[in-house]
């Protein structure tokens, strides 16, 4: 199979076309929301939310069948968002608190699912998704839910960025920190809901974390981050779907579609990271070693401290 076949021809199949549409919508919106996740360092909360929707999915499936999945997940995600926002603000060992909330929620989900017949299948679907077998009736609710998330972020984008860079200033300017945190967490939760019932929680986490990180590597200009993250997410989703299709149909290796897309995201991140490091090194050399070795070391130490 030629690369052109995998990249374009494959999507003439209805299920591939539907997967592409869903992935493009989700990845662009998740990329934009993900920039704020990155700026606010909310990766762990996002991970918590992807696990927190699990009991909602399981209970929704048990109570209302297939049509109960989305409402169940939405309720669980909203509870999770409120709980995590509150935990984050209460300050009591917040990251440990997130870890406990997410594993407890996940445990409830596992217990509910383990009472049903198809335990292993349900767990796998939740984690790794079923990108290629999304029923047509799921597409519209998914788009609506993620559009609401985008709207929430678009309406508060300026305030969110303000809060990300100057929390005290944002509060002093009259913005409610709690309202902003809750809005962002709810937006993340909605993206997670849209994704978890269709493409899997692992994939959603990758969609929310990786494009933002890539955009931060590519540019230092704030408002460029959002389009860059969206474009990166769309391209990586497209290539990921095509790669999975080429491997499965062309080479006969049965790659799981969701995991293949995540792998493409992470590999692309690695490429951009290496490119950035090489460029930085070249810039440093071109400037003729403006920093003494001692200075360079101290700046690394400072950035390490900022990261920790």
């Amino acid at each position: 199979m030629s690369p052109a076949d995998a990249l374009f021809g494959a999507f003439s199949l209805p299920f591939m076309w539907r997967a592409l549409v869903v992935m493009l919508v989700l990845s662009v919106i998740a990329g934009v929301v993900g920039v704020l996740v990155n700026l606010r360092s909310l990766e762990f909360i996002t991970d918590g939310l992807t696990h927190a929707v699990f009991p909602g999915l399981a209970v929704g499936l048990a109570v209302g069948g297939a049509s109960g999945v989305l409402p169940g997940a939405a309720v669980a995600a909203l509870i999770g968002a409120v709980l995590l926002t509150w935990l984050m603000r209460s300050g009591i060992a917040s990251d440990a608190g997130i870890a406990v909330v997410l594993t407890a929620a996940f445990s409830v989900g596992v217990i509910v699912v383990s009472k049903s017949d198809d335990y292993a299948g349900a767990l796998e679907t939740l984690l790794f998704g079923r990108v290629l077998t999304i029923p047509p009736s799921d597409v519209v609710p998914l788009v609506v839910v993620s559009a609401i998330a985008l709207l929430l972020v678009a309406l508060t984008a300026k305030q969110q960025v303000f809060r990300a860079f100057d929390a005290a200033g944002s509060r002093a300017a009259g913005n409610s920190a709690f309202a902003l945190d809750l809005t962002l967490n709810v937006a993340v939760a909605l993206v997670v809901v849209a994704g978890a019932s269709t493409v899997g929680s692992l994939l959603v986490l990758a969609l929310l974390v990786v494009p933002g990180a890539v955009a931060r590597l590519l540019t230092g200009r704030l408002w460029l981050l959002f389009p860059l993250a969206g474009v990166f997410a769309a391209l990586a989703s497209w290539f990921g779907l095509a790669a999975g299709f080429a491997a499965s149909v062309g080479a006969g290796i049965d790659l799981p579609a969701g995991s293949t897309i995540v792998a493409v995201f992470v590999v692309a991140y690695g490429v951009v990271l290496v490119g950035r490091l090489i460029r930085d090194a070249a810039v440093r050399r071109a400037q003729g070693r403006p920093t003494a070795p001692g200075e360079a070391k101290s700046s690394v130490a400072a950035s390490g401290e900022g990261a920790a």
Partner: protein, 280 residues
């Protein structure tokens, strides 16, 4: 030993070790890092299962690579520790899923690596966990002073002329070893609860570092025992039962501290001057 007694023993040992090392993880705010390790070691576990070598060995090999990758990404400008953990977590999980899919006849169920199965742990698994516990105890006895200093006053520690990275590496190594030894019993997704919940509960209950190191393992072991008993009584999966028990301990500790903070014995504010009376 019957399989149930062995499961009990495993729950006690792994709970205690998780609680002990969890204190360092929680105090140093490395929970997300530990979470990324638990997920990221999944491909190592799958690869080990596929090759027929012991699962903890594969997970340990994967964790060494992950620690290096994460430390590297965390030092890049504009990236940081959270991004590093997120990338490693999703990347590792995807790699594990792909491996599990392309290896045709995996001798173990991939799901059992995700949520664990405490009823099938071997004596070797228990021994490994106990060994990790002993090493952790020894290291904390030997280097406790430096660990406390660097945890509570990072800037002071550096200013006093000590190097940060040996302590960081020591704690990260212990975290990775704990995660790896807990994998067979509680799996890749739930292991983080055994590290975070007992330590967080102990932190609320006690006010000293030493007290935390004593209370957290006790809570961890108790969660293990009660969880295994609950799993038998209610016929639910053991891993989730242990996690929910540990969570219950944290909620009780949190509730207790909130109740204690309430003004139970409210005494009238003594009023001496007219100004006091106006404020009161």
């Amino acid at each position: 030993m019957t399989y149930f007694e062995r499961a009990m023993l495993a729950a006690i040992v792994i709970g205690a070790v998780g609680g002990f090392v969890g204190c360092l993880v929680v105090l140093r705010r490395r929970t997300f890092f530990a979470q990324a390790l638990t997920h990221g070691t999944y491909p190592g576990a799958v690869a080990a299962a596929a090759l027929g070598v012991s699962v903890p060995l594969g997970a340990a090999a994967a964790s060494v690579v992950l620690v290096l990758v994460m430390t590297g990404i965390a030092r890049v400008r504009n990236q940081g520790a959270q991004v590093a953990a997120g990338i490693v977590l999703t990347g590792g999980f995807a790699a594990g899923a792909i491996l599990a899919a392309i290896v045709p006849s995996l001798p173990v169920q991939p799901e059992s690596l995700l949520v664990g199965s405490i009823l099938t742990v071997t004596d070797g698994d228990i021994l490994l966990a106990a060994l990790v516990g002993v090493v952790a105890l020894l290291l904390v006895v030997l280097f406790g002073r430096s660990i406390v200093f660097s945890t509570f006053d990072q800037a002071g520690f550096r200013a006093a002329g000590y190097r940060e990275w040996p302590i960081e590496l020591l704690v990260l190594g212990l975290t990775a070893a704990t995660v790896v030894s807990a994998l067979p019993a509680v799996g890749a997704i739930l292991a983080i609860a055994l590290i975070a919940a007992p330590a967080a509960a102990a932190r609320i209950v006690t006010s000293t570092y030493r007290g935390m190191l004593v209370v957290a393992p006790v809570i961890g072991a108790a969660s293990g025992v009660l969880g295994v008993l609950a799993s038998r009584a209610f016929a639910i999966a053991a891993g989730p039962a242990i996690v929910l028990t540990a969570t219950a301990f944290l909620v009780i500790a949190l509730g207790g501290s909130k109740l204690r903070a309430l003004p139970w014995r409210a005494s009238a504010i003594p009023v001496e001057t007219a100004e006091d009376a106006r404020i009161a």
